[in-house]
């Protein structure tokens, strides 16, 4: 504001001293320069506060009258600059927003959330826990069905636990009567999906059953297993035969 006042007086002085030739010629180019700044200041002031703009307006219009058409184009400049700034700002904000949004989308696709094989540690862990758990609950001797059921409680949960106890209730009598020994081994384990504390796996099992002292027979089983990370290990919550 002090600058504005100084310039204004300078400009006034210029117009007052128009008579002296040499000095006037020198000052001449300074006058419009000052007017331009005045103009800008006036415009800014107008926007900043409507009430206080009157003073600036007065000088501004007076100067404009004095310099004629040259200023009318300059009069356009501040507004133009302002809209240019607004456009640039909008473009930058929109661009930035688009970048952030797209980056977020890239990172939150199902493919990105699926950590199967990308997180090798967790992938190995869940494969190991599930393979070992399946081998444990589907391996039993006639004398140890209770042990199998107990270990099932530490390996299975939810629907899988219910499925298992139903199954065991059905076959228990036969197991004991026919002295069937079952041993199960996971031969291939593949993690289909791993997202945080939940995983889906495809497991190939070999199940060898032996009836009393007869020859053993081996059958193949393919399961899709859903596992949840609970406490400190992966629990099997659902089993589907494939």
């Amino acid at each position: 504001m002090t600058r504005l006042l100084r310039k204004t007086t300078g400009a006034d002085a210029g117009t007052d001293e128009e008579a002296p030739d040499a000095v006037g010629d020198d000052r001449q180019p300074e006058a419009p320069q000052a007017t331009e700044k005045d103009d800008k200041a006036a415009a800014n002031k107008d926007e900043a506060a409507d009430g206080s703009g009157e003073d600036g307006d007065g000088t501004g219009s007076a100067d404009r009258d004095g310099t004629g058409p040259a200023v009318s184009t300059r009069r356009f400049t501040p507004a133009w600059r302002k809209s240019a700034l607004a456009v640039v700002l909008i473009v930058l904000l929109l661009g930035g927003g688009w970048f952030f949004h797209t980056a977020h989308q890239l990172r939150s696709t199902p493919s990105a959330r699926n950590q199967a094989l990308t997180d090798t540690g967790s992938t190995t862990r869940v494969s190991g826990d599930v393979a070992e758990g399946l081998a444990r609950v589907f391996s039993y001797t006639p004398a140890e069905t209770d042990a199998a059921e107990r270990s099932a409680r530490t390996v299975l949960s939810g629907r899988a636990a219910r499925q298992y106890s139903d199954l065991l209730a059905q076959v228990r009598a036969n197991l004991v009567e026919q002295r069937i020994t079952l041993s199960t081994q996971a031969v291939r384990t593949g993690v289909i999906e791993l997202d945080g504390d939940s995983a889906r796996l495809l497991v190939f099992l070999d199940q060898t059953s032996r009836r009393d002292k007869a020859a053993a027979s081996t059958a193949a089983a393919q399961l899709t297993v859903t596992a949840k990370y609970q406490g400190d290990r992966w629990l099997i919550v659902d089993i589907k035969a494939r």
């Binding site: 930058l92 661009g95 990308t118 070999d206």
Partner: protein, 174 residues
């Protein structure tokens, strides 16, 4: 006036910063190796599923169709398996239609362009002239090789044998 100008400059700087950070975040995500690995994994799995479906399917109702099926086998395979399948004679016989019921990758080497895949497949086999199909379930293991961008082909395919009953089996030999 000075305040308004400073405000304008500040807004510009903030907006530039915002846009710049956004661009950087985007560039990070675009070039993220883990994300690229995940995309490659999904591509390999999807491609593998399709290839295995093709390799276990054959319409052998006529000689021409059988020949077309064998061409499809060759297109789905690469390396030794392709050579082997190329020797298959197109004859009229039983037809098979395969569906991959579940599949998972067990290993993936992005740099080498190799992957291992296990899959359970249901195959409906229709003997020549018969109307009804018999259903067979298989468990297969395949080695995939990347042969181009987003293109994976089967380099080896075998049934996962049951312990004690060792028996190798080729894909599409119905």
């Amino acid at each position: 006036m000075k305040r308004a100008q400073a405000l304008g400059v500040a807004a510009l700087v903030v907006a530039l910063g915002f846009c710049g950070t956004g661009a950087w975040t985007y560039a990070q995500a675009r070039t993220d190796e883990e994300l690229a690995f995940g995309r490659e994994r999904d591509t390999a799995l999807a491609e593998g599923r399709n290839r295995i479906t093709v390799l276990n399917t054959l319409d052998a109702s006529t000689r021409e169709r059988a020949a077309a099926g064998i061409r499809a086998w060759r297109d789905a395979s690469t390396g030794p398996l392709r050579t082997e399948l190329g020797r298959t004679e197109a004859t009229v016989g039983a037809s098979a239609r395969a569906t991959v019921t579940e599949a998972a990758l067990t290993a993936l080497d992005v740099r080498a362009g190799t992957a291992k895949l296990i899959a359970t497949v249901r195959v409906d086999v229709t003997p020549r002239g018969a109307a009804t199909a018999t259903t067979d379930r298989k468990r297969l293991e395949a080695v995939l090789t990347r042969t181009g961008e987003n293109t994976w082909r089967v380099a080896a395919l075998s049934a996962v044998p049951v312990a004690g009953a060792e028996k190798g089996e080729e894909g599409g030999d119905e």
